[in-house]
């Protein structure tokens, strides 16, 4: 049933385009990478590496091939599709990373309501603000946002009410957001088995992680509904002019950790987290971001309860000089485990530095180095060292074109 959603969504957009007569906005981009890495194989390859490309992936790789469509549906609705091809999908050639309908009525008396319906990211990241949920600062996302990219998505409804203070003589805007969702009962499978990673590979909606037949992920599907119980989240956002954004969010997929999908034998992962972040922007191209996330994922098959608390924080500092952006980020991350052999526990920190040059609206060049120092009980169990340092260099060239790119 779910595999039929993609063509159905595309069909919906095309039908809507022909029905409304309004032009569809589109973007197409190809991002290729030259990679040099000494890392262990990544979680997508069944390994316990902490970066996207392991040492075996050094060479020329596909970063991302992306097609995004945006279609007004009448005056207040619009449809948004973001389709991508990553070269490390373990069998899935292409997929939709986001696909949703947006209802955006006009503000009324200083307030505005928005409704999103479909598959999309919860409003957590302050880093992934560019088109396609990419970071304009680095190629590899922070540990927090890499985790969201791997296995967290809202497939449901989100409502947001904003007070538009900056439109009525004040310096602040305030917003409250709440959502209900399904099909995320497997969020937690990556963080418990592989821990935090640093990647910009976004698992498509209803896509797989890891390699089928290769432990520990075995091509798991994070986006499954197992217990027929909706999850929920609620958050707050405050803005000071266009200079500061503060976000707080509580997410709980409300999965029944004792439930197992009868067909696939997939276990439901009860995952909840709290996140908070602050982004500051100043004159002369300065940006600073701090984000924090803390949560726990639990499974309880056969009356045993296993849980993995996890925490991560990062700080990012970026400076734009004309067409160049220079950024540095420091991440800390940890996963604990109550399993007898502390299966899945991890502790580490990482540095990332990136130089991005936007030559024009079409061409972007980026050079990034990520160094991750981590301890991992799972890596030790597989015969690796408990403590490892992994370094990944990437040179990226991206070409983009589209109706809104000039």
């Amino acid at each position: 049933m779910l595999s039929g959603l993609r063509p159905a969504a595309l069909l919906l957009v095309l039908l809507a385009a022909s029905a409304t007569g309004r032009a569809t906005d589109w973007q197409l981009s190809l991002d290729t990478r030259l990679v040099s890495s000494d890392a262990y194989p990544s979680f997508m390859e069944g390994g316990l590496g902490t970066v996207r490309f392991g040492s075996g992936d050094s060479g020329v790789r596909l970063g991302r091939l992306r097609l995004a469509l945006s279609q007004p549906l009448g005056e207040l609705w619009s449809a948004h599709l973001d389709a991508s091809v990553f070269d490390d999908q373990g069998g899935s050639v292409a997929g939709l990373t986001e696909a949703y309908l947006l209802f955006r009525p006009y503000p009324f008396a200083g307030y505005r309501f928005r409704l999103k319906a479909g598959g999309f990211y919860p409003p957590v990241s302050l880093e992934n603000r560019a088109a396609g949920w990419e970071s304009p600062y680095t190629l590899s996302y922070s540990a927090i946002n890499s985790w969201l990219a791997a296995e967290v998505r809202i497939i449901g409804l989100e409502g947001t009410l904003e007070w538009l203070g900056t439109r009525s003589g004040h310096a602040f805007d305030l917003g409250v957001t709440a959502g209900v969702f399904g099909w995320n009962d497997r969020a937690g499978v990556v963080i418990a088995n592989n821990g935090f990673v640093f990647t910009d590979r976004q698992t498509p909606l209803f896509g797989r992680v890891g390699q089928p037949g290769v432990a520990p992920l075995n091509g798991a599907e994070p986006f499954m509904e197992i217990d027929r119980r909706a999850g929920g989240y609620a958050g707050l956002e405050a803005r000071y002019l266009d200079r500061a954004v503060l976000r707080v969010l509580r997410y709980d997929n409300r999965a029944d950790p004792t439930d197992i999908d009868t067909l696939s034998h997939a276990i439901a992962w009860d995952t909840r987290f709290t996140s908070a972040g602050l982004r500051l922007e100043a004159d002369h191209g300065w940006t600073a971001i701090v984000q924090w996330l803390e949560g726990v994922t639990t499974i309880a098959p056969q009356s045993q309860t296993f849980n993995w608390p996890f925490q991560s924080t990062f700080a990012l500092l970026s400076k734009r000089f004309g067409r160049s952006t220079l950024s540095a980020r420091y991440d800390r991350f940890a996963v604990q485990s109550n399993v007898a052999d502390v299966y899945g526990s991890q502790d580490g920190h990482a540095w990332a530095a990136a130089y991005i040059f936007d030559a024009d609206a079409h061409w972007r060049f980026a050079l990034e180095c990520v160094r991750v120092i981590s301890s991992s009980t799972n890596r030790e169990e597989q015969g690796g060292p408990p403590l490892a340092t992994e370094t990944q260099w990437q040179l990226a060239i991206r070409y983009a074109l589209g109706s809104t790119i000039h």
Binding site: Y106, P107, F108, T166, D242
Partner: protein, 227 residues
């Protein structure tokens, strides 16, 4: 304690010679001899403030109003251009969209509530502004777009130049001068001054803000980023 905004009025020494000269001017040139009102606006640290809106209303004599105008506020590169217009009450403003993307313009300001449904090009007739006040404009698609219309019932108005100055020819008499800027932090009431444009050909008023302006919108951020 913050220093109050200061007003200075220059007055001539007057006297019999001056009065006689003024009488001669009146007899020779007819009614309402004009003088130059010069307004200078400074920030709290003493720098010139360009772009501030100055409005001048006569406190004596018959009510005067500026003639309504037809103005244009364009949308270029996902920004309003200009980002501030000052127009007399009764004026009309056109809102063409010169971008390749659609915009959806709105205002919920009490002085004028309106919306222009999703459009490109110039599909709508000009909007009529018949009430004085500040109209804040936004785009319902692109939240970073922000602009202001100051609809004024003052007969004289203008914006300070790069040196923070603005001047206007007015008949001699008593006036209320008011200052407005979209990023003001203080009450507008604190920036109103009364002065008399008397015997001299020139009257000077210096207004100094007591609080720094709010930071200006960031200008160098790529439009493709979320706001």
């Amino acid at each position: 304690m913050r220093p109050p905004a200061r007003a200075y009025c220059s007055r001539s020494s007057g006297g019999a010679v001056g009065a006689l000269a003024a009488l001669c001017v009146l007899l020779l040139a007819g009614p309402a001899p004009a003088a130059t009102l010069v307004v200078n606006v400074h920030t709290p640290d003493g720098h010139a403030l360009p772009g501030a809106v100055v409005t001048v209303r006569a406190l004596d004599g018959p009510a005067r109003h500026a003639t309504a105008v037809h103005a244009v506020m364009d949308q270029v590169n996902r920004s309003f251009a200009p980002d501030l217009l000052v127009i007399p009450v009764g004026s009309t403003v056109e809102f063409p969209n010169s971008d390749s993307v659609s915009h959806q313009i709105y205002s919920f300001s009490p002085a004028k509530r309106f919306q222009l449904p999703l459009y490109r090009g110039k599909p709508y007739p000009p909007v009529h502004f018949d009430q004085a006040g500040v109209v804040t404009l936004g785009c319902n698609i692109h939240d970073e777009m922000l602009a202001y219309l100051l609809v004024t019932d003052a007969p004289w108005y203008g914006r300070t130049n790069d040196g923070g100055g603005w001047s206007v020819e007015v008949p001699r008499g008593r006036y209320r001068v008011a200052l407005w800027h979209p990023r003001l932090r203080e009450d507008t009431d604190e920036l109103e001054r009364e002065l008399t444009v008397g015997d001299s050909d020139r009257a000077d008023l210096t207004l100094r803000l007591s609080k720094p302006l709010q930071p200006a919108p960031l200008s160098d951020r790529p439009h493709s980023w979320d706001y």
